[in-house]
């Protein structure tokens, strides 16, 4: 029983992890080696260097531009999400105003509402506002993060005793002072958590930037990756008819691009895992 359980776990480990191993080995091989060698064979470091160089310099510095765009959209969206969500969560949890419950209910509904259903009307709206093709057409939607509001609400309502705030008010603190000097310092974990979720959601979003951007100089990495598929020989026969003098991308180059595209999120995953998990659970199960 115990043994069988372990075997099942190992089987799933293979399922989850083998593609990752494959991905990191792929850029060390040439296109020919990729299909003819064992999937787990290591090519060579010099091939890796060539692959890296080829993809980073492909079409000028497209990949770096996409990386920069992804960073602008994601960090902008994340900053806005945090700035909006933390005070809103605080307000919902620890202040009273007319419509508070209604707002909370709407938040829950919108949180469950699949955002992609709104991409088309959002596109038309952004166009009417004159924001289409600007970074705001992405930063604003990324910054609207009801899930973060809900997390913050739960955090504030379960970790900060109301008596503490009441005492501060009696001592003459203003509402802003109470928030700024009592709530915010206590809210560090939830700020990190909301920031992380908002960042990952923005970084990985495909459909919205796919619609909202003018051309490849505005693409974030996720959309850029799809374009790279069209530039990769095996995935687009037209590339075979290209002249012999130009650089044609191959599958290992594409794998390298994927690694670069996921690196930021992966690094957060690797180094902040413990904090994240703890944070996730504090937000979640605080008694």
């Amino acid at each position: 029983m115990r043994f069988g359980g372990l075997a099942i776990l190992l089987l799933f480990t293979a399922f989850f992890f083998v593609p990752m191993i494959w991905l990191f080995l792929a850029p060390t091989k040439t296109d020919g080696q990729l299909v003819s060698d064992s999937p787990f064979a290591f090519g060579s470091l010099s091939t890796l260097a060539h692959t890296f160089h080829r993809i980073v310099t492909y079409d000028g510095d497209s990949l770096l531009i996409w990386l920069k765009n992804s960073a602008i959209y994601s960090f902008g969206g994340t900053a806005l999400a945090v700035i909006a969500a933390i005070p809103a969560g605080y307000g919902l949890a620890l202040t009273q105003f007319i419509g508070r419950r209604l707002l909370l209910s709407i938040t829950l509904i919108v949180m469950i509402m699949p955002a992609t259903a709104l991409v088309l009307p959002l596109f038309l709206e952004m166009n009417k506002l004159g924001l289409y093709g600007t970074i705001w057409s992405l930063i604003l939607p990324f910054g609207f993060f009801p899930f973060g509001v809900y997390l913050a609400y739960i955090y504030f309502s379960s970790t900060i005793p109301k008596d503490l705030l009441a005492a501060a008010r009696i001592d003459g603190a203003t509402e802003w002072g109470v928030f700024r000097y009592i709530a915010v310092p206590l809210a560090r974990p939830i700020i990190g958590l909301v920031g992380f979720f908002a960042f990952v959601a923005s970084w990985n979003n495909f459909f919205l930037p796919f619609v909202m951007t003018y051309d490849n100089s505005q693409y974030p990495l996720q959309v850029g990756l799809q374009q790279l598929i069209g530039s990769t020989a095996s995935f687009n026969p037209a590339n075979y008819s290209a002249g012999t003098s130009i650089v044609v991308l191959h599958r290992p180059d594409l794998a390298m691009a994927v690694i670069i595209a996921i690196a930021p999120v992966l690094i957060v995953f690797l180094f902040a895992q413990r904090t994240l998990v703890t944070g996730m659970l504090t937000g979640a199960t605080k008694e």
């Binding site: 992890f17 699949p114 739960i154 495909f206 605080k286």
Partner: protein, 314 residues
């Protein structure tokens, strides 16, 4: 798929106390500070909510109802499109396979992990969690290779299934399970972490008591642990369902790499909506389709939320 995160559940004690009040707002005024402060704190969020949450929905409704042929014309022409039924069949098949297998496997894996030592369990959780960093286009590109029998590390399995080349693997009948596997690959790890955390919150005394009562590991899992993470399972289903109806990037990217073999540009309903908007320049019909998806997602979510008593907000 992005990383799932937790539904927050406040303590039962607090809710009970609060629930006993008749009309709470007035008497809470004193501890809660002034009303205007509350408005101030939520103002920015409310603006965003109006602009990006409420307005697009209203606009979508307006668009859907203002088709050239009258109020319901956009809906009727969407429903009668020859691609409509197949797109919804695809998504239905995908959802059933994905939701059932994800629910079963995540719960089974997390219960197994919970029986291991803390350190070993953490290692497994980490390995399961890592693919979550790959979402959308990135994960599809990786799976393009995983599904090609001639290049895949899983090639032996594909050959054993009788697939000699990529086109065989991505045969139309296989696409729903393939997308389910992709979704599971990126999403399951996050849920496992979340549920493991929830299990860790079960008081030790409770588990010890069960042991003393003579129940074995399996019985403890089924009778004590499972009921305690029920909420999380419902939550996982709600978010997965809402997200799953929107399947877009996976079929889009797979289609553009598979030389169009076996996968159309209108495989999923969301793709069909986009196709109708962009290729026929018919945003009204596209909005009608989007609304159908939205309502579908919300209905199921609402059902699960209410039946599962998920969000105890006060």
């Amino acid at each position: 798929m992005s990383i799932p995160s937790a539904p927050a559940v406040t303590s039962g004690r607090k809710s009970a106390a609060r629930g006993g009040r008749a009309a709470g707002t007035r008497e809470q005024l004193a501890p809660g500070g002034s009303r205007s402060a509350g408005y101030f704190f939520v103002a920015l969020y409310v603006l965003l909510l109006l602009l990006l949450g409420v307005a697009p929905v209203v606009y979508a409704v307006y668009l859907a109802l203002s088709g050239s042929g009258g109020l319901t014309s956009s809906f009727t022409s969407a429903f009668s499109d020859f691609r409509f039924a197949s797109a919804f069949e695809h998504i239905l098949e995908f959802m059933v396979i994905w939701l059932v297998s994800q629910t079963f496997l995540v719960v089974a894996l997390v219960l197994m992990l919970h029986n291991l030592s803390q350190r070993v369990g953490a290692a497994f959780r980490f390995l399961f969690y890592i693919p979550g960093a790959l979402a959308g286009a990135a994960s599809v590109i990786v799976w393009l290779f995983m599904l090609d029998p001639t290049a895949s590390p899983f090639g032996f399995i594909l050959h054993w299934l009788g697939y000699a080349q990529f086109d065989n693997t991505v045969a139309p009948g296989n696409l729903p399970p393939i997308f389910a596997i992709m979704a599971f690959w990126t999403g399951a790890g996050g849920w496992i972490v979340v549920m493991y955390g929830a299990l860790n919150n079960i008081p030790h005394e409770l588990l010890e008591a069960a042991q003393i009562d003579g129940s074995n590991a399996f019985q403890t899992a089924m009778q004590i642990k499972l009921p305690l993470i029920r909420k999380w399972i419902v939550y996982m289903l709600v978010l997965s369902f809402a997200g799953g109806t929107q399947l877009f990037v996976e079929p889009t990217v797979l289609g553009s790499a598979a030389l169009g073999v076996g996968i159309s540009k209108y495989w999923s309903p969301n793709q069909l909506a986009w196709f109708i908007a962009s290729e026929y320049d018919n945003f009204n019909e596209a909005a009608a389709l989007s609304l159908v998806l939205l309502v579908l997602g919300l209905m199921v979510a609402a059902l699960l939320v209410w039946r599962g008593r998920l969000f105890e907000v006060e």
